[in-house]
Symmetry: C2
Subunit: 328 residues, 2 copies
């Protein structure tokens, strides 16, 4: 479906939403009036990743509001000069656009931040509960097998080791603390006062976290300094029975290192992120034991979707007013 | 396997463990030396529910240490007078023995208490996470379907409504508070100071809880006053999207009432307890939509199992010394 506002007002700039995640549609639809006060708006309510189709839909657009669309440099070249601003429904946009090239073309790039801190932190804990209490997989087994026996593991009293202490890492620390876990935190710029309030120990190194925690979870942005920051040597420090969680980015871990460590069969992993995504049918991770795999859904709560749209709309309004908001 | 200690010392009383849950074996085995300081001990390490076999195994026993064994009055009659004390690896033992009849026979009955408060409280939260974040079922779908799309629901900001505020209810309140949930609590004898510390609202009635909470979870012991205390009318008060959890006892809910409410399709349920157990293959609950079912595992953590054994052993030692501990 295509929803349009003000299309007769050719004096106004054109804002196009070329494709939508289904669950984002209601939030975007509710925001159209606000944008229509300053622009023509065209919203395509279906999702497509077909780049020719996306090019067609963005023809003549001044602003593109996008989520999940990967822009090649060739496409950017073809959209400029009419296109002047792109909003992205996410924080880490380097996977979706060549930021330097876009800036060279004079494009304003806007992202959304912190909208999903609590959602992602909760999903990190959800993965931990599924590894220790197995509620979802026991549900499936109870339906298939009748009445399967199973033991659970209490998480209270375990030590959560966090690598990174930004918005999400901090929220994971609060939730883990609330569940009676001990905390060990490594961060480049730790907030000692907050660590103290949570009774958290400041780790001296990433090695320290891996060697002492029962559960290790990285919460770092992906960039040149963090790509592959978790190595096979770190993973080798995990003691039998330890749990590795990842709701941040798969590329924080050196390629193949996690699969290799998991194959020993003595640790557990709860993963929401993979490289590449979607996770291929023949990905070695699918055959590793003791894993819980979810398809990059940690951020996809109603609250987070509403937050993304609210921030992206604010960026569009700011751009149309000659200002800026959430510019990358 | 049969493990024996002191069997030549026929001057000492005989303590028999007639059957074991597999996961309890290591904890019981470690406790044998302590008992053997005061008694002959025979431990059967396999599990059986065959009553003739259990009768054979308990022949001549002064003390029976049991978990999961249902004693009929006929069996009690046949075990008395040599049998003088039974320990149960659980709290609510009325389902396993006719307490009045046992007392008439002069038997001392001992249970274990609070060993599983944190484990059961955690599992309550685990069921809540599985309903809202679906990690376990998404894992199964990711393996079967490749890369399923799914939204999640944040639990932070939702209201947890608790019915009962004993050891488990209190711990659920603490965990929910730590996860950023609001609390509404109904209890016969609420601890106002504790409620205040958790920022909990004291509900005026069970109706009040069902009408105002997003998540409702009963934590009451099962007895004549609480059997069927949750009625169809209560469940009708749940708003669409609400979640009903039960890790206490299925019999707290009026027979059939939950199935009837679930069939409307607009609420969710996370259940670890059923009536009867094991849940029959043709139980109507299995066909109700929006449910997560786990096979009464909430209490089965290593910590809880160790706690049960520790308390049961303390009861046995106390009995052998002419005293009493955890006597029902």
């Amino acid at each position: 479906m295509i929803i349009e506002r003000n299309m007769e007002r050719t004096d106004l700039p054109l804002v196009v939403i070329p494709a939508c995640f289904p669950s984002m549609v209601p939030y975007l639809e509710r925001s159209l009036d606000e944008i229509a006060a300053k622009a023509r708006v065209r919203m395509h309510t279906d999702m497509t990743l077909d780049l020719d189709e996306i090019l067609n839909r963005l023809a003549g657009a001044d602003v593109a509001m996008t989520t999940g669309i990967h822009f090649t440099n060739d496409i950017l070249d073809r959209l400029v000069p009419t296109l002047r601003c792109i909003t992205f429904g996410g924080t880490g946009i380097a996977n979706f656009v060549d930021i330097d090239h876009a800036h060279d073309l004079g494009l304003m790039l806007c992202n959304a931040v912190h909208y999903g801190d609590n959602a992602v932190a909760e999903h990190t804990i959800a993965l931990l509960f599924e590894i220790t209490h197995k509620a979802g997989r026991l549900d499936v087994r109870t339906r298939a097998e009748g009445w399967p026996g199973s033991d659970i593991t209490e998480i209270g009293g375990l030590t959560m080791g966090l690598i990174g202490f930004g918005g999400i890492g901090h929220r994971v620390a609060e939730l883990a603390h609330g569940l009676g876990m001990n905390l060990t935190v490594w961060a480049r710029h730790p907030d000692d006062e907050t660590l103290q309030q949570l009774g958290a120990r400041r780790a001296s190194s990433i090695d320290d976290v891996f060697a002492t925690a029962d559960v290790v979870s990285p919460h770092l942005a992906l960039n040149d300094a963090t790509r592959g920051i978790i190595t096979a040597s770190h993973l080798d420090l995990l003691r039998p029975g330890s749990i590795f969680l990842n709701t941040a980015r798969a590329e924080l871990v050196a390629p193949g290192a996690l699969e290799q460590r998991l194959r020993k069969g003595d640790i557990f992993a709860g993963l929401d992120v993979f490289s590449p995504e979607p996770l291929p049918a023949d990905a070695p991770l699918r055959d590793c034991p003791n894993t819980v795999l979810t398809p990059h859904v940690a951020w996809r709560s109603g609250k987070a979707l509403a937050g993304i749209v609210q921030q992206n709309v604010r960026s569009v309004i700011a751009f149309l007013d000659g200002g800026s908001y959430n510019v990358v």
